[in-house]
Structures are given as structure tokens and as C-alpha cells.
Amino acid sequence: MSWLRSSPLRQSFSRRTQDISNTGTDSKAVSDSFCKHWQQVSDIINRSENRQTQHDDVLAVVNHLDHMTTLLLVELHNCNKIALPNGQHPPAPCLEFMLSENLLDSLYEWSLSTGRYSNAVRLEQLKLYELLVSHSRHQLLVHEPFLRPLLKLLASCQNEIFPHDVGKRLVILLNQLCVVLMQNVHLLDLFFCSTQQHGLQMNGANQTNFIIFSLLIPYVHSDGSIGHQARDALLLCMSLSQKNSNIGTYIANHSSMSPVLVTGLCGLYSSLPNSIEVHSIDWFRITADDVNDMPELTLFMNSLEFCNAVVQVAHLLIRDQLLDFLYQGFLVPVLGPAVLQKLKGSHLQTNVESQIASMAYLDLILRSVTEPGLLKIMIKFLLDNEKFDGERILDVLIERINSPDSRLCMVTLTLFDTILGLHNEQLMTELILKYLIGARHIPIAQKHKINKIQAYAKTVDYLLDLAPEVMKNSNMILAEHKSLDYQQSSSASLPTHTNIVSRTIGANWNHYGLHNTGESLYSNYHAYLYDAHQKIKRTKYSCDQWTDNYFYKSPHKQRQNAKMPNEQLVQIVRNFLSEFNLDTITTTLMSDEPSNINNISNSSKQLDMDSLQSIGESSGYESMKYRPDEDEEHQINSGNDSGNQISTNINSNITIVKNIEPWRISRFKDSQLFDLEITEDIFTQGTVSLGPFLTSIWSKLQTFTSNSLYVNLHLTGLISHIALYPLPLVHSILLRPDIPTTSDIPSFYQVLKILKQQIDAELPMTEDSLELIDIGRTFLIDREFKLINARKIALEALKASNASQLSTSQTNTQTSQLQTYDPFKRQDDKRKSSSNSIMSIFRRTSTTTASSNSNNNNAGVIGANQAQTSGFAQIYGLLAAGIASLRDHQPNSLELQTSSINDSTGLGANSYINERHRDLAIAAIILDEFLKELSSISQEMSIVLLNENFKNI
């Protein structure tokens, strides 16, 4: 409303507000003037009955209408200021005159005869209605002289193609009408069955019509602010559909909403570039800035966002219809073949570029979809094994992890990172849990260990010991030289750049008391712990909503839940056991130092193997569990403070219990389950599959030393992400070196051990190796700061551009469109994945100058977000996009980097620095950091999961 601000009338406004008693005389003058203007318009209209409308006529009418509009506005403004005690509105003579004389209708009728000027007149009318609808406190819509011409006008707009300015006005008016209807749902019917009521011919048919809605639909895929407003208005209609089911039924049954949306989405997807122009070697995912950069992608994302919003607010009927259309009309016929690279059933010529593009689009879609219903069909899409000739999208994605093309591999790893970030039970089950439930990958004798959380704490030593020797020594040397300023040494090697950029990331870590401002997070173990703490907390919050906690449960117990076993038989077995073994147990116990009940059961279990086996086989029971009765357990639990109670409660077969000192009895019996899964195939040794997902990841990990740095960053990040799930079964293969596995592939620790041996052998502990490590470390730390600073520069540029924007034109549609666009906003806290927030900090510089609101927000929360970025993979890896903008000014690739360091340190191109060694050095550093990340996760887990299994006892 800037024109209002600049209007000379402003002064009279303020005068009026000061002197409210004068309104009487003033409003008289206003209404007189209004009538005079109308008189002149009326003359022109009357004149036009006899002759064709002239240019001058139209111009004069428009001019008068402008004045009338202003006068009306003055009047409405005054009216709105005054509140009469009886709740009545103050008199509004202009308005009353307008309604009583049926001005609007005359105007409309005249407009039909304006021929080639009709659009100009229509524009004026639309403006007038918009003003009245948005500014009047009066319920104008209930007045026939207002509503009738309005509906006529709207009806005349159907099936018309307007110039941009008229279309824009129309959409604004429709938007305003929707706002009013939201507040006054009872008025809705006026716009509903309008065809019959008003006897107007619309669309050539006399069907039910919600005219506002049908007028908006053509604008749904529009570009720019007009599209935004149309979509806003449509969303308001959708929300209306929840209040009024007539609307819902109409939209679902009589409007073309869902098909239009979905076909539009398909069209926009098809127009996306087949290959994405990648700016840097470490590019791995589409960022919000990329979206703004690519007009086709902006349009597609707008539409997708809109679908997301519709599903969120619309009536159930519309929602289900749209979801169905999306699945059948977009995901299956368009997105699926794009991802699979298939055309009409046959594979396209394998084109890595378009594979990368389709994977990146899929990743973007998965990250942008927030609505549970929409997410559900996305998941269904990933898991559907009927629609794609028996191929399952998820399986195809898994295959691509091992693609020889490192970019495809990176995009795939990122996509899986997104998938894991969804914390979806079904997906986790399909990817990992399905293969681990029942713990067939663990030898029978070891299974009871799975849920023993306290053992996690010991993982740390084991993992850290797997660090390459050269790293251990290099770290030691670094620690020794601590007194020498670390920053100086690293900046000395890169004097030109480090002077410009200030290192500020450490500022947020001061609570550790460890870091001066500007220090790298490299090798900061406490930062890893903090990071693990935060991420596990978030992950656990999501997983707590799952249907199961996926702790290891013995098959016996699961069966017991389904069907109670023959109690009598169990009793027989138990008696047999007690008779047979009482003496042995007693002696075992006496000779041992007093321990807890678990040990007793443990020893008895081992002794009874043979006897039970025969019983088990003859009785047909596949497994037997030997443990005290449930009742006894409860008594132990309740009587945990008294040793006497226990000795009496436990029945004769383990009377020895009283020898256990009362203070050593825990309320929780950590391992109550002792399975004797007799018929379990002991020959499964070495043949149990961990599933294709883990197998792919392992095999990628096996080639660690020859993978590219960026692949390794994403790979290790993905493995850490898996470990963050609070699932002991998953940890049994990642964080439990004390549990051997019998899988068909080398265990995780075996792989890590091999990597260590490989690096130790090829990068022996020599001065040269240490030098290489130093160079690699400098490179990585330098990269870290570049990423941070890239973001900082972007934010500064943004500030500057915002300031200049304020001083320049405010009606720049291009800018306003960009400002409202934010495909990554998520209302749902739970789904605010860390990678998302990280990505929003580190969007590329090149486009942030164009600015977006979300960037502004990020500037405010950047401190908070940085706290989430400490995972080294993120610092060095996920932030990769940020570096692209610097590539023109600074050497980016590893080769250039190392050689420039060599030059500056005077090492020259010495023969020992060959490529393999340089890659190995980087791999060694990454492995070292990865091990720290994993150990910190295991330490945090040891606390978080403790007694989690007994939560409901």
C-alpha cells in the first residue's frame, strides 16, 4: 500500500483522527464529491448507449473511479476508527450511495460494451472490489448490490486469458475473498452453488461450482508472486474444506485440482535438466541456493511444496485423492523410471550424469517433503516391488553405493543419509533391522551380551587402538608442540588466504574451556562427544515413537508371547535340572567369588547343554529358557534391599542365592535371558547375510584407501549415522568388538583392522609419512575454515544486498519471490535433521547475494547451528557445497593444494610425495577421526541406553 503512504490525503487522515467530532462535516464533503464523480461516470455510461466507447471515455471513467476509490477509502478509514456503543456501524454515505444506486452493476454492464478496452475497465473493477473487500468492516458480501455484480464479474473471468496485470489483480482479489471467507465460513455458500442461484451461464453447464477455486486453478503453477498468491489462496480454500465438507466434496469430485497439480508436477519434473552442472569435485547434493539458481527446479519445488501444503491442510477426501494421484500419476510413472533410468520398460543407455541428477532430485524431494501422508507414499514408493517390473527402488539405490563413479557414489551415500535422517521404522527395518532381528549373525553363546549396555564403555579402547600408527605418533607430536601456536604454523603455509579469513568457528565451543576463538574442530574429542550427545538425543526421541525398541529378544520369548508353552513340561524340565545340577552349581558358586544370580544361571546353562538338548528335541521345543519364575523375579525386585527375603523367595533349586551379599543385588537383572536355541542351525556360521545395505557399505569401506576423500567422508558419516540409532542389535555389529559375528562378510572390526594394517604397511612410521600427514591435516583444516568463511562471506554479502534492496524498488517481483521461497522450512521439530540445518548454513555464496529470508534467519541462529556441525564428516564433508564459490580464487582440488604447500614450504616435488602416499595420508587422518567419532558415540550410548530395556518394569 505504498501509494497510500505517498498520497496527499495522509495529512487529512491525521487531522481527522485528532478531531473526531469534525467527521460529520467532512464526511458530507466526501460523499458530495463521491456523488459528483459518479454523476460524471454515469453520464459517460449513458452516452455510450448511443455510440461506441471511445478511448477518452474509458480514460475518464478510470479517472473518476480512481477518485471515488480514494474517497471510499477515506470514508472506510473513518468508519473503522469509530466504534458506536450499540455495536452499529457509523454511517457511510458513499458506501450507502454506491449500494443503493447499484453502481457496481451499472459499471459491470457498461464494461461489457467497452470492447477492446474491457480489460482496462475490468482491472479498475477488480481494484475497487479488492479495496472494498479488504478494507470494509461492513459485511459487504451479504448485500445483493455488491455480491451480484462481483459474481458476474468473476463469472466473466472464467475461461479468459488475461494480460499479466489483470491476472494479478484477479488473483489478489480472489486471495482477499478467501481471507474473508476464512473468517466468515457462513458466507461460503454465496460463492458455492452460484450458478443456479444467479442464473448465470458458466462454463456452458449448470453444475455446482466454487467459482473462486476454479478461477485460481489456472494460476497454480504460475511463476513469481502471482503463482504464490494463487497457491496461498488455494491453500485457504483447502483449509476451508476442513470447515465445510461441501467444499471438500466439490474440490475432490468436481474440480480438476488433483489432476492439475499432479500433471503440473510431472511436467515440471520432466523439464528439469537431465544433468546437473557440477561446480566442484565435492558436490553431493542440491542446496536451496541451487534451487534458486535453476529456474526449472524453482518451479518444480514450488509445486512440490504446494502439494505438501495441500496434503497438510486439506479435507481428508482431497488429501487422499491427491496422494493417490501423486503416487499413481507422478511417483510410479515419472519419478520411478527417472530413478531407474528406464523408458517404457527398457533400460536407457546408462548415463551416469542423468543417474546423478535423478538421485539428487530424489534426495531433494525426500528432504523437502514434510507431511506425514506424503512421506508415507514416498516410503511406499521406495519399497514398492510390484510397479517397477519386480525391481525395488530401494534395492537399486543400494546397488549404486558401489558405483565406480565417485560422484554417483557420493550422491547415493547422501541420499541414504537423508533416508536415515527420516528416522523411519519401516525403512530402517527394510535396510538393516530385518536382517538382524533374531541375531542370527551372532553365535548362540554370545547372544546374551547384546543388550548389555555397560560393555559399550569398553569399546573406546578397542576402537582408538585401531588408529593407524602413524596417526598415533603424529597426534603425539602435535600435542608436544602444543605450546607453539597451532594457528601460526598452519597459517604460515598459506599466508595469503588465512590473513583474509578470520577463524571463528571455535567461538561457540568456549564452554569446553578448550578452544580459543578460531580454532579448528579437528580432532576435538570433546566436540565429538557433545555432537554424539545431541544427535543421539534427537534420534532417540524419534525412535521412542516406534512400535518396538528392537532390543534383542530371544525367539523363545517371542514365541511365548504368541502362545503360552506347556507349563507342565517346563516344570518337568526345571525339576530335572534342579535335581541333576544342584550340587554342581553349589560347588561352582562356593569356589567362585560371590557374584550375582546371572552367573549362576550362566554356569548352569553351560552344564545343562547336553541334557537339555535331548529333552528339547524329543519335546519338539526349539528353545528352552532356564530362569526363575516370573513371580520370583518380581519378589526379588521388590525386596532388593533385603538379603533375607531373597533367600526365602527363591525356591530350593537355587537356595545358594542367599550367599550373595544383599548389597550386590541389582534391581535389574541385566541378562535375564539365556537361550538354548537348540535347533538353531549351528552350521550357519559364516553364511548369515547382514543384508544388501550393510554389505554394500562394508565393501565400500574395504576400498577405503583407494576411495576419494569425499566418498570416504560421506561413507564414514553414513556409518556413524547408523550407529546413532539407539538399537543394540545394530550396535552389535558396529560398537561391540567384544561380540563376534558369523556373517558372510568380514566383520566391521575386521575391515577396520585390515585398513589399519594396510595403512601401517604402506605408510610406515617415518619422517616422510609424518610430513605427509601434516600436509593432509593442513589441507583439511584449511578446507574447514574455507567452508566456514564461505558462509560468512555469503552472509555479509546478504546483509549488504538487503540494505541496498531497502533503498531501491520495493515492488521488484523477482526479489519478493525469492524472499518468500524457502523449500527447506520444516515446521516439525522432530524432522529438523541436522544435515538440513547444516546445509542451510553452508549454502553456496554465489546465489545468496540474491537473498532469501531463510538466510536471514540462519544468520541469527548460526551459532546454534554450528553446534550441530561438529561431526567431522560434516565439517569436512557435508559443508562441501560452500567451497564452490571459492574455487575461482583459491586452489580447491587436492592436487593443487598439496603442490602449493610444497612450494611454499620449499619441499618441492620430491619424489616420495607420490599420489598414492598422499591419498593414504588423507585416508589415515579420516580413519583416525572416524574412530574418534565412533568411540564418542559408543560412550554416549553406554549412558543413554543403560537400563532402557527395563524402562517399563
Binding site: 555397560q454 574451556g513 551379599e661
Partner: protein
Amino acid sequence: MPIDANSSDEIIDEVLCTTKTEYRILLELKLISTEFNTGSIYIIPSKSNSLLWNGIYFIRSGPYKDAILRFKIQLETNYPNQKTPPELKLEFPIEHPLISPDTQIFDSSHAFPTWNESEHLYSFLKYFKYAMENFDFCVNLPIEKIINIEIAELYKKDQKEFKEKAKEMIVKSVNQIFIPTGDENIFSYDRNSIEEDEEIHQSILENMKTVADNLPESFSFLFDNRNRSLH
């Protein structure tokens, strides 16, 4: 550049030991918070030093039933690898066969002649609780294990006088806990609020949980007192 494998181990160990101690303490705290019934023993680490714990014990049975004792536990810096059990010192001079009348230190050597990392502090505290509530158990221990022989003799010989003495101590102990102390993380009470017994236990428990949950972020003693980075 000299390369010495041994010193590298030391440095890694130093970093590891501190974090491992921290996490062990967290584990012990979490175990304690779940092992004890509501209304018996509560523990909270001191604000400035997480190796020093403040505790409070509401005695629910035995001759000292209804007494409320504040105590401190001091862990050694190499916990859990210390050779002897942690030192538990009572803030109030209660007389007990296993508590030194001079130092008010509880003697746990009968149950814990040594200490190693497989021991848990909850069992140490359970032993303390057991000993406080079972005088018969204490007075029948071998004579060299009894620290306060006087009170043991009195208990055995003159139940009436013992009971009177115990009653006096119970009242005194309850009064003692209203005296505020310096540490921020200590249990001190408002006389009015102590009446609402159930609520107070609930709020203490909540408080313990919050403290334990937030410890990794605010573990002050290790993070703040170290002036050097890891490497």
C-alpha cells in the same frame, strides 16, 4: 624428529582417562538413580568437582529410622581404577559401629576389602544402607572390623539406653539438614517443604535426572580445569 611410541600412548591415555572417568561417573549416577527406591538415597555431584559427591540418606528402618543423614563421597582421580573403596564421610556425627567417631568416615572394608573397576557404587551405597539399618549385622562382625566399639557394646548390652541415645541423634540429624552449605549442588531443605514428603522425593529425583542428563555438557571439573587441548 624422535619417535617414541610410549609417550604417544601416554598422551592418548590422558585424554581417554578423563573422558572415560566422566562417562563412568555418569553411568554410576544413572545406576544409582535407578537402583534405589524413591525415598532412600540420593546423590548429586558437587558443582565444582564431579569426583566429590553430595548425598542424602533418609533412613527408613533399623534403630536410626527417621534420621536424615547428609554425606559426601570422594572418588579418586583414577576412578574406577582406584585400589580402595571410595571414601564416604558423614556430615553429622552419628554413632555407628562402622563409622569412625573421630573422622565420621564409614568403614566398608568388610564388604569391599579392595576396589576395582567391576565394582559399582550402587552396591557400595547399598552396603552403607544395609549397615546403617542392620545393627545386628554390624555388631557381629569380627572385632577388628568394628570402628566404634563403644556404640557396639552399648547396643549389645543396654538396649534401653541405646534407644534413648539413638532417638536424640535422630532429632539432631534432622535439624542438621536445614543448615545451608556452600556448594550449589547440595541437598538443603526448607523446613516448610520437608513436610510434603512425597513431593520432595519426586522433585529430588527429577532434579537428579536433569543433572545426570546434562552432565556431558556441563561437566565442569574436567573440562574447565584443563588448560590444554587434546593435541
